[in-house]
């Protein structure tokens, strides 16, 4: 039995397949999308060019001196060394406080308590906490953490530990959410395979789920870190010094319990001063902050690519 090839008038097929004209809705939609992208890019570019334009001369004139000088009322001498130290310590304290707590919370919510009503309520509330304005966390920092140090009679309580813990609490919800999402993205099949050969919950979590979720958790951690380093509002409330001051000493204790400030605060402070020179310093401070953020984000991308796996 042979199969007959159906014969169709070739002209009809040709006509039916031919484009009848431009499809306007898709063109318009595509144009709108491209415009959105352009708008975002232009806004960023404008910001970047403006900051570089104003800030770069500070570096060409003073070089590293800007990074190593303390705060001063003389704009030709003022620098960000104290602010760099403050930002450094805030980063360290955030890493020490927020990351273990956040990742552990996420593991508990996803691997141990998943699916219960209480977990769902907690989950929704953590998401809400992530949206709470940062100034509110500043109030918390002032009331609780500064208060604790004050009660313990350590200086006036306004030190970088109180500030760092405040920022750590601020980014904690973000760490929890990103870590929980990374854990959730690990296929259930991997867990089942582990349980199937007689592994306990802890062994499955520790040896299978955590390594698989590691790139995602790491990305969340680094992104929260750059958020933490860029926060000004809560630190102003939690006792960072707005004006210039002399450091309580170069030793560790002096840095940790003495007066402190941080890069975003200094930038903010300088922009409020009347002299034009301080505007330039503010722009230079922004460049330092941007470089730190770019390095952190670059590190996040590098680590994610290095450890990422496909299923």
């Amino acid at each position: 039995m042979s199969i007959e090839t159906p014969t169709v008038a070739s002209g009809a097929v040709h006509r039916s397949l031919k484009r009848t004209g431009p499809h306007w809705p898709s063109l318009i939609f595509q144009g709108l999308l491209a415009f959105s992208l352009l708008f975002t890019l232009l806004a960023l570019l404008f910001l970047l060019v403006d900051v570089l334009n104003r800030g770069l001369p500070v570096f060409t004139e003073r070089g590293m001196d800007f990074l190593t000088s303390p705060l001063s009322s003389d704009p030709t001498k003022a620098g960000v060394s104290q602010a760099l130290w403050g930002t450094f310590w805030i980063g360290v304290i955030t890493a020490v406080v927020a990351f273990p707590l956040g990742v552990a919370t996420a593991i508990y919510l996803e691997e141990y308590a998943a699916g219960s009503r209480l977990t769902r309520i907690v989950d929704v509330n953590i998401r809400n906490l992530a949206g709470v304005p940062s100034i509110v966390y500043g109030l918390l920092g002032l009331a609780v953490f500064v208060g604790v140090f004050k009660a313990l009679n350590i200086g006036n309580g306004r030190n970088v530990i109180a500030g760092g813990v405040t920022v750590a609490v601020l980014v904690l919800p973000i760490v929890i959410i990103t870590a929980a999402e990374a854990l959730r993205a690990v296929p259930i099949a991997i867990r089942e395979a582990g349980y199937g050969v007689g592994a306990s919950r802890w062994q499955v979590t520790r040896q299978l789920v955590l390594p698989a979720a590691f790139p995602g958790i790491l990305t969340g951690i680094v992104l929260s870190l750059s958020r933490a380093l860029g926060e000004a509002a809560p630190l102003i409330l939690a006792g960072a010094v707005l004006g210039s001051y002399s450091s309580g000493g170069a030793d560790l204790v002096g840095q940790l319990v003495g007066p402190y400030t941080a890069l975003p605060i200094v930038v903010y402070r300088w922009t409020t001063l009347p002299q034009e020179e301080f505007r330039q310093l503010a722009a230079a401070g922004m460049i330092v902050l941007l470089v730190i953020t770019f390095i952190a984000n670059g590190l996040a991308i590098y680590l994610r690519n290095k450890y990422s796996r496909s299923w």
Binding site: S116, E192, G198
Partner: protein, 262 residues
């Protein structure tokens, strides 16, 4: 491969009036069946009849589903798997599982097989255990030169044999297989079936399959489940495979095995 476990008439798993629930929903009702030692028993039935639920309840894998619980008795060498004080982790070590989709760990081939013995604190030469397990899963010749490579780089059929090797490595008595060939091509499927026939010398195999030919070809006994009006799965008929396929007692069974429904 000496010292085969003795084949006796004592069933290795005896279900006594087992019903399985997801919260208030009864997925499987009132199943009683003795699973024979060193035999391959196929669980067949239409989609949604609870055969996977039944299979996963045997090594308490369903414990991981919130709200899942069992009624009745599930006796393993006379010991109720759901009795007080029974540790699900210990149960799963003795009753291994191979899943529908090959799910090797994102680790090396060696570490995939060694994972089970390691988490169970097995002492001894891990290389020997890995080699023996891979040999029994007919995978050793394919992978002996690339044990350090990722298990996920293997083909689908090889991945599934790796998963079988991984299950064997903890020396279970029973291997549960949940449609192990549904994601595989016909050639890989045949390899797995041949492997099952070898494995039943040492292990008892319970397999869920949608494939009638597979059940007919590879199993010694067959349990046919279907879904009742209450959407709970129940056992229609069970027994020696050749008998059930050629001379079914129930019209439902005949319709299903001849492909008229399901």
């Amino acid at each position: 491969m000496a010292d085969l476990p003795p084949t006796t008439d004592e069933p290795i798993i005896r279900l006594e009036d087992v019903s399985l629930f997801y919260s208030s929903f009864r997925a499987v009702r009132n199943i009683s069946y003795p699973f024979r030692t060193n035999a391959i028993t196929a669980l067949i039935g239409p989609s949604g009849c609870g055969k996977s639920t039944l299979l996963r309840s045997i090594n308490r894998m369903n414990d991981l589903v919130p709200g899942a619980y069992a009624e009745g008795r599930m006796l393993y060498h006379g010991e109720d798997l759901y009795g007080p004080g029974v540790d699900a982790v210990e149960v799963r070590r003795r009753i291994g599982m191979v899943f529908q989709k090959p799910n090797p760990f994102p680790k090396s081939i060696f570490d995939n097989v060694a994972f089970g013995p390691r988490v169970n604190g097995v002492k001894g030469d891990m290389a020997d255990i890995v080699e023996a397990s891979l040999r029994r899963a007919s995978l050793w010749d394919d992978v002996k030169d690339k044990l350090k490579q990722s298990g996920m780089a293997l083909s689908g059929g090889q991945q599934q044999r790796l998963c079988i090797a991984r299950a064997i490595a903890t020396e279970p008595e029973i291997i549960l297989m949940d449609e192990p060939c549904s994601a595989l091509d016909p050639r890989s499927t045949l390899l797995i079936e041949e492997l099952m026939l070898e494995l039943k010398q040492r292990y008892t195999i319970i397999i869920v399959t949608h494939n009638m030919q597979q059940a007919a070809r590879a199993s010694d006994e067959t349990v046919f489940l279907t879904m009742g009006d209450d959407r709970a799965g129940y056992m229609v008929e069970a027994g020696v495979t050749s008998e059930l396929f050629t001379n079914p007692k129930s019209q439902l069974t005949e319709d299903y095995v001849s492909g008229r429904f399901g």
